[in-house]
Symmetry: C2
Subunit: 462 residues, 2 copies
Amino acid sequence: MNSIISALRTRFGARLSTVSDILARHGAGESYHRGMPPDVVVFAETTEEVSAIVTLCQAHRTPVIAFGAGTSLEGHVSAVNGGVCIDLTGMNRVLRISADDLDCTVEAGVTRLQLDRELRHTGMFFPLDPGADATIGGMAATRASGTNAVRYGTMRDAVLALTIVLADGQIIRTGRRARKSSAGYDLTRLFVGSEGTLGIITEVTLRLHGVPEAIAAASCTFPDVDSAVRTAVAVIQTGVPIARIELLDDAQINAVNRFSKLDLPVLDTLFFEFHGTPQSVAEQTEQVRAIAADFGGGVFRSAASQEDRTVLWQARHDAFYASTALRADSKGWSTDVCVPVGNLAQCIARTKQLLTATTVPATIVGHVGDGNFHVLFAVDTSNARELAEIAGISAALASLAIELDGTCTGEHGIGTGKIGYMVAEHGPAVEVMRLIKNAFDPAGILNPGKILPAPTQERNPH
Amino acid sequence: MNSIISALRTRFGARLSTVSDILARHGAGESYHRGMPPDVVVFAETTEEVSAIVTLCQAHRTPVIAFGAGTSLEGHVSAVNGGVCIDLTGMNRVLRISADDLDCTVEAGVTRLQLDRELRHTGMFFPLDPGADATIGGMAATRASGTNAVRYGTMRDAVLALTIVLADGQIIRTGRRARKSSAGYDLTRLFVGSEGTLGIITEVTLRLHGVPEAIAAASCTFPDVDSAVRTAVAVIQTGVPIARIELLDDAQINAVNRFSKLDLPVLDTLFFEFHGTPQSVAEQTEQVRAIAADFGGGVFRSAASQEDRTVLWQARHDAFYASTALRADSKGWSTDVCVPVGNLAQCIARTKQLLTATTVPATIVGHVGDGNFHVLFAVDTSNARELAEIAGISAALASLAIELDGTCTGEHGIGTGKIGYMVAEHGPAVEVMRLIKNAFDPAGILNPGKILPAPTQERNPH
């Protein structure tokens, strides 16, 4: 390791650190997972620099881990075997924006709020919005989404092409900017969601959307979670082109009120957003109001002004932080199951039953139009019994989702945290993923210990 | 080969053929490509049967090629090294349809028109519609799309999960039915578009959509192709949620009139379709009418009745057959470039220039909302000079599209026909695709000679 660090120092000088605080910060995300620090952090500024670092790591068979905003929830950046962390936040240039093509190309370290600002006067926007101000590279690496996915899709849909540094340092581009292509294997989609284990994403070409002529938001309270969920599912089944449909249960509303200084009624609530022409937005709002009333919805509050909408959605985006703030010195633990929408009401009802087994503060927030929801636990990471309890509930919930033909993770990724569910969810397809991993990274230097269980775990013990 | 055939005959009996007509039909698609027959065709009826055939082929290192409707345009089913063809048309069961989840699972041999019929009374529809009545498995294998892709996406977006028989006969499922997932590598998207070279698709789970409350169609003539294209691009850039926006140039209108017994004005024309509530459809129609007028559009004819719409879209779907019918005993040759929408007008203008170099009948039809269009040539395949001439124009057009940051194929796939453009389009990423191919099919038995150029072709000769 020392010879690697000294070689890197020669090239990167002050853009390299072995300071323990910096190492610790680069080995951890935002959740309960105990991070493992890398041996060194290098602050890269170009794809060629990333390539040089990876080439060096390959020569030394040393782990190499890409780092963006550090907002991962599943231990993605934990340096489980040490190694070199490449901090990409210095690669924060927006390289091109095309209003004609409705797309842009950014470096991996650009954050979503930075991109929002850059697009502000273009008439276009980038719809994906995980709660955190993640980097676009990190969002691509975890196949992230957010509240708008029900209308605009996930990073799977938003990414047109990637620039990738492969395990041998070679630089490739995975595709071109055409909206669709049948030209060979879909490398773009293969790298989206690969969590830095197949290559390092250094540039991302994104599809953008025109800012709708009109935007309106609304919220509606319900007598119970089930009524709210059934409303959401009916909205989807009716085909209303809704832009956002988010569930916050009563506990989450309480957390949000405290964290964001609001006074929302402490009831199970749906937040909605409508995009379109003024006429279409008005029509969608009425459609949803009628469906909500059918399911026992209470007060239906419109938030037509930009200011009201901003308050509403900021509160929603801060849900994770709000839940964690319910308890002093706690860390957030988020589940992330996603099921077919027709199974969502059942999945949430059974989740509520599971939650009766713990006294740890737990709130529910969900992208219910996609069948995806999170239970946010505020855990005391020093309490082993409590961690085991939440691990048990999380495991039961993941099993339930898989039983309902869903997934253990809709948008957070596997990291280290959900490896244990891979075989239950994918069966022998896990070994097909391993074939890909071994072909792309035979020495296993790229973000080791993520996504794939150790080979023995799913082998028959006989 | 004889021992394979005899082993297969033992199991499949009359569901096996070595009759030369049947072999010939199973080695060819619908286009100008000269097909190569397999040595034997087996008519499989279950995934387990496909697995047994592939296992046998693997043991004998014999090529194995999946066959659906035989409507490929790029030589995908040509048995370039002979081998076993698995005809999947007997796997034509719709396994489940869920109105609650808006999805269904079908066997690979179900055709799109069969699925349309099965969905007719469910309130749902499957939007993808290549011109031919292709099988769903074939559409997944080529990453097909059609006229609705501008609104509903391509097979990349429509497929939720696949059942795959791998090269060693193992059966896997690539994903679950949740709308989104971040659980590991996106095997579904890797197999979509892999053209039978990584595994054989035997079942497909598809996302469905609710039938819109209202549907309306319209057409508008233009003084030239450029005005029509600029109208289409403006519609996309304005964000009208249009369901279809199709260009037929004057030559294509002439072909369609003759083939479908219509009397459309022989002018460059856009066909539109609008989906939504009655109010939204009326509003979209007015938006598009206004944009078309801005670009010099002529008569804007609405086709609100189901019958008028059916005539219009049947004519559009028959475009390939109509063009081929322009010339006795000709075969169709379709180009398939796709470029960023902002580059489309330039690409089509330069294409029109390229077409001045030939007297072969040539029409243009395009999914212009996606930046994708086809030149349909009616070629005399017995005339080598003519084939060379069209090959030259096709190559120039593919190079032009790649230069404009687009692709040589938007929806038809590579097959044997477009292998020559892979390196120009993907550069060193072709070698990454080869890594995948070698990992999945080390013996090279799965549909050999497709997608990837022979290794020597892109190696530096030094």
